[in-house]
């Protein structure tokens, strides 16, 4: 749209604003100029009296100008605002207008009022009305007596919990969280191999309860899930427990208020909970993986609903997971791991890293089955109390990893099917080839630091089939 004037002075006011009434004498001074002044009134055509104001009934002019406060005086040059002053501030108005001695008898300054464009309902409406990128998803009109939350259930869109109804206004607001246009095709999402656009992710992020600033994390997570290595088709279809576990690193954690401390894997933090949920809703609604359909999990686990947390990098004795995976400490990333859990590790008595490493190894042997090796991967979430022991002893992540790999290099005779009186275990022919087996592959065991300050515990997040045979841990940068 174009402004009502191409060059000159323009002032946006409203009747419901004391400061606007205060500056009416100033408007009279401006009107005395040769080129005059255009007065734009947001709420009443007859305010201020005698100025023949332009009534900005739809607020399109104010929206175009980006008006946040009334009054605001603008200098327009060639159809664009080139200078402005919000509220009443004599020096500012004199700068914008190029006049001196304005508003004699008025105070030096007086704050203005919020522009009507900033009222929530108006803001959402205007955002949608003026979006340069119209949304293309099918519109679903509900009956007047239909409850939108119930309607989402009835249409099979939810994970069993209520969702926030994805109205156009909410989705438009969500899309403000990214610089990508809604029509941008992010990926092709298995199992249906459906095109997944930014708009579809935004709709599901609204439903999950995300704020717009979480959207870049969700977008990155969807890209990671759709990657060939992560194999979301297999993760969704398996009878196993796993779902996508999201580990967030870098500055974005603090920026969006994620919780890496007390109750880090539990309830209570909106970003932690809704980002993981949004990814699973996208997998369900766009990818087409629904329980009982493609998803044939025997039990499933909460990671199929939401399992997302940030690493406590600031308190960690070690480099972060993202740095281990080749990113810089100032880069924001999300890592996807096909997994479930956690399995608890209790050790309140160890006072040496050797002793604590033995505890971790004993519990890690349980992953999948104590007699299975080389199948699942694991992430150990090391608590601050446990991490302190490793810090004081100078144990690096590689040092701890070596220790545990060594402790979990086990006699094949104990691991094969039939050993210990149970048929589960590694194939018996392995006993002809080697004496020992290591529980985890060298890339199959990771450590991250998170959790509350009190408690001699750590947490094992155990994975599905790892590596190329199943799902590869996948890390992507959050950059949209």
């Amino acid at each position: 749209m174009s402004l009502p004037i191409a060059d000159g002075l323009l002032v946006v006011v409203k009747d419901d604003c004391e400061t606007c009434h205060l500056v009416v004498p100033v408007l009279a001074e401006l009107a005395g100029r040769e080129d005059g002044v255009a007065v734009v009134s947001q709420d009443r055509a007859d305010f201020p009296e005698g100025f023949d104001a332009i009534h900005d009934r739809q607020l399109d002019i104010s929206w175009h100008l980006g008006t946040e406060t009334t009054p605001t005086v603008y200098r327009i040059d060639d159809g664009e605002a080139v200078d402005e002053q919000a509220g009443w501030y004599r020096a500012g108005w004199e700068r914008v207008t190029g006049m001196t001695g304005l508003g004699a008898g008025l105070p030096e300054q007086r704050p203005g009022c919020g522009s009507d464009t900033m009222l929530p309902d108006n803001y959402q409406r205007l955002l949608r009305r003026h979006s340069p990128y119209p949304m293309s998803s099918r519109r679903v009109d509900l009956g007047t007596a239909e409850d939108p939350v119930e309607a989402a259930y009835a249409r099979g869109w939810t994970d069993g919990l209520p969702v926030v109804p994805p109205t156009e206004e909410r989705v438009a607001r969500m899309l403000e969280g990214t610089d990508l246009p809604p029509g941008h095709v992010l990926c092709t999402l298995p199992p249906d191999l459906a095109e997944c656009t930014v708009e579809k992710v935004a709709i599901n992020a609204v439903m999950a309860g995300c704020r717009p600033e979480y959207l870049p994390v969700v977008l990155a997570a969807v890209e990671a899930a759709a990657g060939r290595g992560f194999n979301i088709h297999g993760v969704s279809a398996t009878t196993y427990f796993s779902g996508p576990v999201l580990i967030v690193n870098g500055p974005v954690r603090r920026r969006i208020g994620m919780n890496s401390g007390v109750n880090v894997l539990g309830q209570g933090n909106r970003a932690n909970l809704t980002i993981g949920r949004a990814l699973n809703l996208v997998v369900r609604n766009v990818g087409g993986a629904r329980p009982g359909g493609v998803d044939q999990a025997t039990f499933g686990s909460p990671s199929k609903l939401s399992f997302c947390f940030p690493e406590d990098e600031e308190g960690s004795p070690w480099e972060s997971l993202a740095v281990q995976r080749g990113f810089g400490p100032e880069e924001s990333t999300v890592t996807l791991f096909a997994a479930h859990g956690p399995i608890e590790v209790v050790d309140q008595k160890s006072r040496t890293p050797e002793s604590l490493a033995r505890t971790l190894a004993l519990q890690l042997r349980m992953v999948a089955h104590p007699k299975l090796a080389g199948m699942s991967e694991a992430v150990v979430v090391v608590s601050p109390e446990h991490a302190r022991l490793f810090r004081e002893a100078g144990w690096t992540k590689p040092r701890l990893g070596e220790e545990i790999h060594s402790l979990l290099t086990l006699p094949v005779s104990e691991m094969v099917a039939g050993a210990g009186g149970t048929a589960e275990g590694m194939p018996p022919w392995l006993a002809d080839q080697r004496q020992e087996l290591t529980k985890f592959s060298p890339e199959g065991l990771w450590f991250v630091h998170a959790g509350g300050g009190a408690g001699g515990f750590s947490a094992i997040i155990s994975g599905w089939v790892g590596g190329r045979a199943g799902s590869e841990m996948t890390t992507v940068a959050i950059d949209h």
């Binding site: 099918r138 156009e168 249906d192 089939v465």
Partner: protein, 91 residues
Amino acid sequence: MTTLLDPTSERTTGERPISARPADLADGTVGLLDISKPRGDVFISRLDELLTEMGVAVRHYRKPTFSKPAPLDLRCQIAAECGAVIEALAD
């Protein structure tokens, strides 16, 4: 009136009729596809025995991993070489 945006891929499910069943297994080769799960080979071997006793020609195939769909090349090969296929699920 409330209007919501559809969160799904907006695809309609395509329906294809099941392909015609062979009238007689002896007319063509039967593929035996092991999906690489434990003990799938036990099931496949037994099927091999039973089909061979019936005079049916069999060919063996194996997916690289049970966790992913069969590669396209493998599916094309089975379609080209066999009149029917039996896929052994597992465990």
